[in-house]
C-alpha cells in the first residue's frame, strides 16, 4: 500500500531542522536590505529625537529673544554657539524648534495614516469580499473622494474648524484613505478567488471567519507597506497646510510653518528655509525607504 516507505531515500530529503517560516525568511531578508535598514535607522532616530526632545534641545522652542533675531548658524559670520543653527525672526533658537518639530510631524504622520488605514482597509475588505452593491457603493465613494481636491478641502476645513493638531490629524486622515482602499480591495478580490478560500467555505466557515483567518493575514504585509508611505504623505500634507497658513498655527514649531515664517528673510538668511525642508525630506525619505524595503522583503521579486 505504501508508495513511499519511510526508509526510502526520498523521505530523507530535506533538512533536519525546521525549514524557515515566511516570517523568518522575511527577517533574514530585512537584515540584508540596505534601503530598509537606512529607512528604519532614520525613522528610529527621529522618533527618539521626538521623544527625548526636552533633553536634546538647548532651549525652549517658544523662548523669544528679540535682540537675537535672525542670527545665522554658528559657522557663519555673526553666528554664535548659543544658537547653533541660528534664530528665527522672533529670536527663537532654530535648532530647538527643529527638534520639537519632529513631534509635530511624526505625531500627525502616524495619526493620520492610522485613521486612513482604519477607514480604507475596512471599506476595501468589505467591498472586495462581498462585491455586489457594497462594491458599487464603495467604488462610488472612492471616485468621489478621488475627485475631491483634497488639499483644498483640507485647507478650508482645518482653517474653518480651527487649526489644532487633532483637527489636522483627523482631516488629513479622512482625506487619505484611498490608497489603502484601492490596494486592499483588489488584493481581497484576488485572495477570495483562490482555492483555499473556497476550501474554507466548503468546510463551513462563515464570511467573518474567512476574512479574519484567511484574508487579513495575507493582506498584512501590503497594508504595512502602504502605511509607511501614507505616513510620509501625511507629513508632507501637514507641512503644506502649515506653510500656506491654514494648518498648524504659530507659535507651535511645525516645519512647514517655519518655512513660511522664514520665507520673508530667505534671500539673506536662506538657512531658515533650507533647514526645515531638509528635516522634512529626511523624515519622509526614511518612511519611503522603509516602505520600499518592506515591500521588497515581503514579496521578493516584485520591485516596483
Amino acid at each position: 500500500m505504501t508508495d513511499i516507505s519511510p526508509s526510502h531515500p526520498a523521505t530523507q530529503l530535506g533538512h533536519e531542522k525546521l525549514p524557515p517560516s515566511p516570517g523568518q525568511l522575511a527577517r533574514a531578508r530585512a537584515l540584508k536590505h540596505h534601503g530598509f535598514q537606512i529607512g528604519a535607522a532614520i525613522l528610529l532616530s527621529l522618533i527618539l529625537v521626538a521623544v527625548f526632545a526636552p533633553f536634546l534641545a538647548p532651549h525652549s522652542p517658544y523662548a523669544q529673544s528679540l535682540p537675537n533675531r535672525l542670527l545665522p548658524p554658528a559657522w557663519e559670520e555673526g553666528g554664535s554657539s548659543t544658537y547653533p543653527l541660528g534664530t528665527d525672526r522672533n529670536g527663537r533658537d532654530y535648532l530647538s524648534r527643529l527638534i520639537y518639530g519632529t513631534r509635530v510631524s511624526i505625531t500627525i504622520g502616524l495619526g493620520a495614516a492610522t485613521i486612513g488605514l482604519l477607514i480604507g482597509v475596512t471599506l476595501g475588505v468589505l467591498a472586495g469580499y462581498f462585491g455586489g452593491w457594497i462594491d458599487h457603493a464603495v467604488s462610488f465613494v472612492l471616485t468621489a473622494q478621488l475627485a475631491l481636491p483634497g488639499l483644498l478641502l483640507a485647507m478650508a476645513l482645518v482653517f474653518f474648524i480651527g487649526p489644532s493638531v487633532i483637527v489636522v490629524i483627523c482631516i488629513i486622515g479622512v482625506l487619505h484613505w484611498t490608497y489603502f482602499l484601492v490596494v486592499t480591495r483588489s488584493a481581497t478580490q484576488h485572495i477570495r478567488s483562490l482555492d483555499f478560500v473556497a476550501a474554507a467555505r466548503a468546510s463551513g466557515a462563515t464570511s467573518r471567519q474567512i476574512i479574519w483567518h484567511e484574508i487579513l493575514p495575507n493582506l498584512a504585509s501590503k497594508i504595512i507597506v502602504i502605511f509607511t508611505f501614507e505616513v510620509g504623505i501625511a507629513i508632507l500634507a501637514e507641512a503644506s497646510l502649515s506653510f500656506l497658513g491654514v494648518g498648524i498655527q504659530a507659535p507651535t514649531p511645525s516645519w512647514g510653518l517655519m518655512i513660511a515664517e522664514g520665507k520673508e528673510a530667505m534671500f539673506y538668511r536662506p538657512w531658515l528655509v533650507v533647514l526645515p525642508g531638509i528635516f522634512l525630506f529626511v523624515l519622509v525619505i526614511g518612511a519611503n525607504l522603509m516602505g520600499d524595503g518592506v515591500r521588497d522583503i515581503t514579496s521578493p521579486g516584485e520591485k516596483s
Binding site: P149, L152, A156, I161, G232, L244, V273, V274, F281, V284
Partner: protein
C-alpha cells in the same frame, strides 16, 4: 459605444455633484458664513441681519438646492469677500492655471517616461538604481520647499528666471518644473513596471523568436503595450494638477485658481471655495472619462469585443 459614454458621463456628473454636496455641507457646518461676511467683531444684531439678508438662516439642504439651481442656470453666486460674481473671479484666472498645468504635464512626460523606460531596460544596473533613487527623492521633497530652493538658486544666486509672477513664459519654467516633478515618481514607476512586464511577456518572446531585437523590438513591439496604462494615468494626473497647483501658485505668486483658492479660504469666502471644489471635481471626472476613452481607442481588446 455611445450608450457606454453616456452612462459613464452620467456617472461622472453624479460624482461631481456628490462632491459638491459634500463640500457644501462640510464648509457650511465648519463655519458660519455670516461671521465671514460681517466680520468677526460685529454686533450680534448685525450678524443676525446679515444672516437673513443672505438667506443663511434657511436649512442647509434648501440652500444647497438653491446653489444647485444657480449652477444649472449658470449663476454661481457672488463672492462674500470680493463682492463680485464668483464666475468672473474664476474666469479671470483659469487660463493661467491651465497654462501651468499643461506645462507641468509636459515636464512630467519628458522626465518620467524616458527615465522609466531606461530603468526597465537596464534592470538592476546602476541606471535602474539611480532612476529609482531619483523617484524616491522626488517623492520625499515637499514641493513648496523645492519651489523656494529653486527660487534661491535660479532666481537669486543665478539670475536665470524671475522670482515670481506670471507675465512671461519665463515665469512658468520653474513652477512647471516643481509641479511636474511631483508626479514624476509615480509615472516613472508605472512606466518601469509596465515595460518590465511587457518585456517578459510571451508575445515579446514570440517577436524575439522571429529575429526582432534591440531598438526595433522595443519600438515596434513593446512600447505601445507599455504606454497603454501610462496614457490613461497621465490624463488623470492632468486633472489632479489643478488641485495640486495650490502650493506652487502660492510660492511663485501666480495668479491662477490655486492662489484664488488660498485667498478665498483665508477670507472665509465660501461661495468661491465651493465653486472651486466643484470645478476641480468636474475636471477630474472629465479627465477620468477621457482616460477611459483613450484606453478604448488604443486597446483593441476594449474597442472591439
Amino acid at each position: 459605444m455611445l450608450k457606454y459614454v453616456l452612462q459613464r458621463g452620467a456617472l461622472a456628473l453624479a460624482v461631481a455633484f456628490t462632491v459638491s454636496l459634500a463640500a457644501f455641507l462640510l464648509l457650511n457646518i465648519a463655519t458660519d458664513a455670516a461671521y465671514a461676511i460681517a466680520g468677526e467683531e460685529a454686533d450680534p444684531d448685525v450678524i443676525e441681519r446679515i444672516r437673513v439678508q443672505y438667506g443663511l438662516d434657511r436649512p442647509l439642504m434648501v440652500r444647497y438646492a438653491d446653489w444647485l439651481g444657480g449652477v444649472v442656470r449658470g449663476d454661481f453666486g457672488d463672492s462674500y469677500y470680493w463682492r463680485k460674481p464668483v464666475a468672473s473671479l474664476v474666469a479671470e484666472r483659469v487660463g493661467t492655471t491651465i497654462k501651468l498645468a499643461l506645462s507641468a504635464l509636459f515636464v512630467t512626460i519628458i522626465i518620467a517616461i524616458p527615465l522609466g523606460a531606461l530603468a526597465a531596460l537596464n534592470r538592476n544596473t546602476w541606471v535602474d538604481r539611480s532612476a529609482l533613487a531619483v523617484a524616491v527623492a522626488a517623492q520625499a521633497v515637499p514641493n513648496f520647499w523645492l519651489g523656494l530652493i529653486m527660487i534661491i538658486l535660479f532666481a537669486v544666486m543665478l539670475p536665470l528666471f524671475p522670482v515670481s509672477g506670471d507675465s512671461t513664459w519665463r515665469h512658468f519654467v520653474m513652477p512647471a518644473f516643481v509641479l511636474g516633478a511631483s508626479s514624476v515618481p509615480a509615472v516613472m514607476r508605472l512606466m518601469r513596471t509596465g515595460l518590465i512586464e511587457v518585456m517578459e511577456s510571451d508575445y515579446i518572446r514570440t517577436a524575439r523568436s522571429k529575429g526582432y531585437r534591440g531598438a526595433s523590438l522595443l519600438m515596434r513591439h513593446a512600447l505601445r503595450n507599455a504606454l497603454l496604462p501610462v496614457v490613461s494615468v497621465l490624463a488623470v494626473q492632468l486633472g489632479q494638477k489643478l488641485g495640486g497647483s495650490v502650493t506652487t501658485e502660492n510660492v511663485f505668486a501666480i495668479s491662477g485658481l490655486g492662489r484664488l483658492a488660498l485667498q478665498s479660504i483665508l477670507g472665509a469666502d465660501i461661495p468661491t471655495v465651493q465653486l472651486l471644489i466643484f470645478l476641480f471635481a468636474l475636471v477630474f471626472v472629465a479627465m477620468n472619462l477621457l482616460a477611459d476613452i483613450l484606453n478604448a481607442a488604443l486597446d483593441p481588446r476594449i474597442r472591439i469585443g
